[in-house]
Amino acid sequence: MAVVAEQQQLDLREPKGWRRTSNRIVTWLMVLAFVVVVVPLGFVLVTTVVKGASIISWQFLTSSIPPNVAPADIGGMGPAIVGTIEITALATIMAVPLGILGAIYLNEYGGKNWLAALIGFFSDVMTGVPSIIMGLFIFTIWVLHFGFSGFAGALALGCLMLPIVIRSTYEMLRLVPNALREGSYALGATKARVTMTVVLPAALGGIVSGAMLAVARAVGETAPLLFTILIVTTVNKNPFSGANTSLPSQIFVNANSPFVGAQARGWGAALTLIVIAFVLMVVARFITARFSRFSR
């Protein structure tokens, strides 16, 4: 009997045979999936940094854009950098306050009613609208009537940023504990005052970092700008009238060009753009880590 009892004892060691092998295969496949993504990403970043760094200088960042046939050491991307800053700043000024207010409606006023649910749902759907459609949309309602301008591009980028800001702000507002609101109401504050002086400051870190991620997304967009700002080769300081240009638009033009000099300037512009987007992302992460008071 003692022998039988011993045989029936549970075997708690690692499983053997196919079960163990399949488990290992799957784990290594997961690691492989990550490697498959990292290696090309590394290639893109290294290529951009190597090819871009060799051309970037103060002169590159400030001179006007030469014809595509010009060799790599002539001219630069000055107008594109100015244009990108103008257009992205305008888009941010429009989209961020509107997005935050929209999120305030969804979380503070709408609650669970059907209208808030509908707006929340379609705001998520709107994040999936292709950016080129935003370009066509602004072309139809703005450019056909008022002509090309940096502002038209900003409108298109703003449409793109709006649902992203709404979603990220909404998530942050949801994290603010109700006790804070109730404490403020108990002191006799109105709802607007509670929202502005208690809820928003409490969620500020997360809202700012969400907005910066939206800016990082918008700054690299080309498609909405193609038919709204066109391309120019000199600095246009007035975003409200006349064609403008931007870094992504210039990269698109230069990538299509057969000339070595134009391609080199394209890499320089690409590095500048990636650095801007990357800095925005890192600052956003830093703000999230440092200043957000409530987390999931």
Binding site: P15, N23, T27, M30, V31, A33, F34, V36, V37, V38, P40, L41, F43, V44, T47, L98, G99, G102, I104, Y105, Y109, L115, I119, F122, S123, D124, V125, M126, G128, V129, P130, S131, I132, I133, L136, F137, I166, Y185, T190, A192, T195, R217, G220, E221, T222, A223, L226, F227, P248, I251, F252, N254, A255, N256, Q263, G266, W267, A270, A277, M281
Partner: protein, 327 residues
């Protein structure tokens, strides 16, 4: 407007209720209306997009009728059948999904089930970095570095499959560095971050107790994933994949640079092609009249397709989230 004037839960109940409501200051009420207006802005923009672009495209739809779905794109001869672009959008999106979905699910599982927390943070950063690389930079890299390199691989695959029935018509000659397949690969990189992060969110909601239950029954990690994680996250992952499909269909600039710009319908994946977003980006600038209306109409179709897919995707995601909360 009943929603606007509805009493909010913070208003004290009882006899003082009505009195307090009347004394709500103007600023408080206007703030509420302002917030509501900003919320409604989303719906207004979506409706405006649909109305304004379709009105610009109406002459194309009325002139061509169902011929918009034929395969004859010849702006010089005023022929604007868009089937080749719809085909290109479908084929590149499918290629992208076939490559991106297994990889994304693999990374999501790696993050939630395998690596410890302090290792998962850097991996998430890397995936986010993938999302930060702008579309146009993928395109620049794709056309100048990647396409010339992968053309050699295409050529050797094409000579390898020569004469084999199905494979030859899929992977055979003609080959080009800028092709459907190159566009699909670049798209796969671009949709991986969103599919990964959404799948990961869903998998993170699987109750820890179910994992422990599976382990307690002696399951290996893979058996635990199949038995506990997958049934729970299936719905959400399907939603994530659909959202990735929507992105892949709408992504423009990278595709415009690497797809090869040739309005043809062919089973050869290594041949140059075109898709809806790319043809708008490349040709809208110089288009006028009927040509412009046709491109605008392709935009309307693309908008409709992506909206439908996104609505289904969000619905699937929300339904699976609700089901989980209920369970």
């Amino acid at each position: 407007m009943s929603t606007v004037t509805r009493a909010d839960p913070a208003t004290p109940a009882g006899s003082a209720h009505a009195a307090l409501r009347e004394r709500r200051p103007l600023g408080d009420r206007s703030f509420q209306i302002l917030a509501l207006a900003c919320g409604l802005l989303v719906l207004v923009i979506l409706v405006l997009i649909a109305v304004s672009t379709s009105s610009q495209a109406s002459s194309w739809f009325s002139a061509e009728g169902f011929k918009v779905f034929t395969n004859n794109w010849n702006p010089a001869a005023n022929q604007f059948g868009a089937l080749a672009f719809i085909y290109g959008t479908a084929i590149t999106a499918v290629i992208a999904l076939i490559m991106a979905v297994p990889v994304s699910i693999g990374i999501a599982l790696l993050l939630t089930e395998v690596v410890p927390y302090r290792w998962s943070r850097p991996i998430v950063y890397v995936i986010d970095l993938l999302a930060v690389v702008p579309s146009v930079v993928w395109g620049l890299w794709g056309i100048i570095v990647f396409a010339p390199w992968i053309q050699h691989i295409y050529t050797s695959i094409a000579s390898g499959v020569k004469g084999i029935p199905v494979l030859d018509s899929l992977f055979g000659a003609p080959t080009s560095g800028a092709s459907f397949f190159t566009a699909g690969i670049i798209l796969a990189f671009m949709i991986t971050p969103i599919v990964t992060s959404l799948s990961r969110e869903v998998m993170a909601t699987v109750p820890q107790i179910e994992r422990e239950g599976a382990y307690a029954l002696g399951a290996t990690r893979w058996e635990m994933i199949r038995g506990a994680v997958w049934p729970h996250s299936q719905g959400g992952v399907v939603g994530a994949v659909l959202l990735g499909l929507g992105r892949a269909m709408g992504e423009t600039i990278a595709v415009a640079l690497v797809i090869g710009s040739s309005a043809t319908i062919t089973s050869h994946l290594f041949a140059p092609g075109y898709n809806m977003a790319a043809v708008i980006a490349n040709q809208f600038g110089e288009a006028t009249g009927e040509f412009r209306a046709a491109l605008m109409g392709i935009g309307v179709l693309l908008f409709a397709f992506t909206i439908i897919i996104n609505v289904i995707a969000r619905w699937v995601v929300e339904r699976s989230a609700r089901k989980k909360r209920g369970a």
